[in-house]
């Protein structure tokens, strides 16, 4: 078993906060396939399309037949721990600050022998299963775990560093008026969050969920993503203790460009879904980036809840899709801006949700609880991309297969008699 993480002490105001350091980021282009799989929590290795040999480490030609078509495929993550050592110091500051660090070699059932980090509960020379996780540089690295769960295994220092676990952390949920806010709050507390702040816009009008949010233990604070001063004020107040920020703010009205004679709703969609993200990032980003090595409750993750139609428009929600495409694009540039600090940007792509604006759409629709479960699981697994619900998963598959075919299917006209 792993020693459980103790709740962090209150910060000593006389001590300097530790500056972020990172494990090495550089990878070959071939090796980035591991990071792409880790971004979704999959264990994948290159596999030769000619002879079927599984490759490790990533390379440009098959080590068995020199074939050059080496697509990344999900692999059996099980294997046997061969040899191990404990690194007690390193010239790399990131590891030096975190030594000792257990590493070793594992013979995979799929064939190759890999080098990986080793969870403290792995028995010597025993059976292990491999996780492919993003490290603080955002690159996929391999971690060997015991086959069976062990007590408090998430609290192992290496495993925690390869996750964005809400346990003991303080979370801001940006929009307390979104129907999913209560489920997010409840699931965050269930996952061990120390504190959940919830933003509420326009406190001069009733929020039917306000009392429930407070009763669930959330601290409801004034925050309006369309108002720069409001966002900056809240960042001034709690920006230094926001470890995870979940931006669930959404403005949604059905229709494309021709649905209305004005730009009012389209503008509001950009104000909240896109510019709201810009304002939040400007106000909260720098403070969170500065605190990514700040102990047990360091800043770890920035979560955007996006419509999956950010990737390919649903013309029934054309303007809304466009605003989400803008937010999706910005999330990619935020990843670049946050990368040096190790702050993770996790996008949760959602299909139609179970609320008033998708009333006329048939099921399946994403319930608040399902979304909350996806968010928590994604944080615990340290993901970058989470696909919530059947519709989102279906769109992902079709988008990957051929974006143009997907676009054509999404934009079909009415068949005449």
């Amino acid at each position: 078993m792993t020693d459980p993480l103790a709740p962090p002490q209150k910060k000593n105001p006389q001590k300097r906060s530790t500056s972020p350091t990172r494990p090495p980021e550089l990878r070959s282009r071939a090796a980035l396939g591991l990071s792409a799989a880790a971004a979704e929590g999959r264990f994948a290795l290159q596999q030769c399309s000619e002879c079927g040999t599984v490759q490790y480490p990533p390379r440009d030609a098959c080590h068995a037949c020199l074939g050059t078509d080496l697509p990344w495929r999900d692999q059996d993550p099980h294997g046997t721990l061969l040899a191990e050592t404990t690194v007690r110091t390193s010239t790399r500051l990131y590891f030096r600050e975190r030594a000792p660090w257990r590493v070793g070699s594992v013979k995979l059932n799929a064939g190759p022998v890999i080098l990986c980090h080793i969870h403290g509960d792995c028995p010597r020379e025993g059976e292990v299963r491999i996780l492919n996780r993003l490290d603080r540089s955002g690159q996929g690295v391999l971690l060997a775990l015991p086959i069976e769960r062990t007590q408090n295994m998430e609290d192992d220092p290496v495993m925690r560093s390869l996750s964005c676990d809400p346990n003991h952390r303080r979370v801001l949920v940006s929009d307390g008026r979104n129907p999913n806010a209560l489920a997010l709050v409840e699931h965050l507390f269930k996952a061990g969050a120390a504190k959940v702040f919830v933003g509420e816009s326009e406190t001069w009008r009733p929020n039917p969920a306000g009392a429930d949010l407070a009763a669930a233990g959330a601290e409801v604070l004034s925050l309006d993503l369309t108002d720069t001063a409001s966002v900056r004020q809240l960042a001034g107040e709690i920006g230094g203790k926001t470890d995870i920020l979940i931006n669930n703010a959404r403005f949604l009205r059905p229709g494309g460009a021709l649905a209305r004679d004005d730009t009012a709703f389209a503008q509001q969609e950009m104000e909240i879904n896109y510019l709201g993200l810009v304002r939040l990032a400007q106000a909260f980003g720098p403070g969170m980036c500065a605190r990514t090595s700040d102990g047990v409750n360091s800043a770890v993750a920035w979560v955007n809840i996006l419509s999956v139609y950010a990737l390919s428009s649903d013309p029934g929600f054309g303007c809304y899709s466009a605003s989400n495409a803008a937010a999706y694009s910005l999330s990619q540039s935020l990843r670049a801006e946050f990368r040096d600090s190790g702050l993770r940007v996790m996008n949760v792509y959602c299909g139609p949700t179970e609320d008033e604006w998708y009333q006329l759409l048939p099921p399946p629709k994403v319930t608040p609880a399902a979304l909350a479960r996806s968010v928590i699981a994604g944080l615990q697994d340290g993901l970058e991309d989470v696909w919530c619900g059947d519709v989102a998963k279906d769109i992902r598959e079709r988008w990957r297969r051929d974006p143009k075919i997907l676009e054509r299917e999404m934009t079909m006209g009415q068949e005449e008699a």
């Binding site: 326009e202 406190t203 001069w204 009008r205 009733p206 309006d224 369309t226 108002d227 720069t228 001063a229 409001s230 009205r253 004005d262 009012a264 709703f265 509001q268």
Partner: protein, 257 residues
């Protein structure tokens, strides 16, 4: 013209007092809320352009945005469907001499303190006229409710069946227009109509009758408790917006000290 220099001197020396009837334009100031599928009134917003910094070293300025009907604001006749064909019905067309004029105040604050849906009725106007004389022709009539002292959610006072705030009955507004030929009607609440004004016939009677008759509206007024029932001068000049149906504005009253 006689009297103007004395007027200026009286203000300078404090013999006449200028009362600001305006709320501060603030992002958190309530606006009217309509069902979400309708177009909505934009809130007041302010974005910094520069603040003596790298974006502009020696100057500070903001871009602002809002609806014509945000904050303390003026309603022109073209705001309502009944006034859409009224000549000179938009803010840019209104003759400037109509932007300064006499004002009377009907105190409904006691009734509004007891009942959120308090109505200004013909009887209340009659009682006021018994005491102060007939409402003068072409005067502004302001309905004092002390609603401007409310803050936060109490101001809009939104409930599941809509907002609750005082306002005039259809008969009262018709009386002021048809019998007294007023210039306009103003309130401390979010609209010239009661919060539940959509349930009158016609719906929103103050908007419907005032603007149909070419009269003006003022709402979200402040400090009406500092005005005398009669004898004050009102300055209410909306921005000159081309084709504008209304405008945020600074509303001032000049009152004897």
């Amino acid at each position: 013209m006689t009297g103007l220099s004395e007027f200026a001197e009286a203000i300078a020396k404090g013999a006449l007092r200028v009362v600001d009837l305006t709320h501060t334009l603030d992002p958190d100031f309530p606006v009217i809320i309509l069902p979400p599928e309708f177009g909505q009134c934009a809130r007041f917003r302010m974005e910094e352009i520069s603040a003596y910094d790298h974006r502009g070293p020696a100057w500070k300025w903001h871009n602002i945005s809002m609806s014509e009907h945000t904050g303390t604001h003026f309603d022109a006749p073209s705001h309502w469907i009944s006034g859409r064909d009224v000549p000179y019905g938009s803010v840019d067309e209104i003759s400037p001499d109509r932007l300064i004029g006499a004002v009377v105040v009907i105190d409904c604050s006691a009734g509004a303190a007891e009942n959120d849906d308090h109505e200004l009725t013909v009887e209340i106007i009659h009682a006021w006229e018994t005491e102060h004389g007939p409402v003068p022709r072409d005067a502004w009539v302001l309905m004092r409710t002390d609603w401007s002292k409310r803050r936060g959610a109490d101001y809009l006072n939104m409930r599941d069946d809509g907002p609750h705030s005082p306002g005039p009955t259809p008969d009262a507004i018709r009386y002021l227009i048809e019998e007294r030929d007023i210039r306009g009607f103003g309130t401390e609440t979010i609209g010239t109509d009661a919060g539940q004004g959509s349930h009158y016939t016609p719906p929103y009677p103050a908007h419907f009758y005032l603007h149909g008759a070419g009269k003006f509206g003022l709402q979200c007024l402040n400090n009406l408790d500092q005005l005398p029932p009669t004898g004050a001068l009102l300055v209410a000049a909306p921005l000159k917006i081309k084709g504008g149906t209304g405008s945020p504005l600074r509303v001032l009253a000049v009152v004897p000290s």
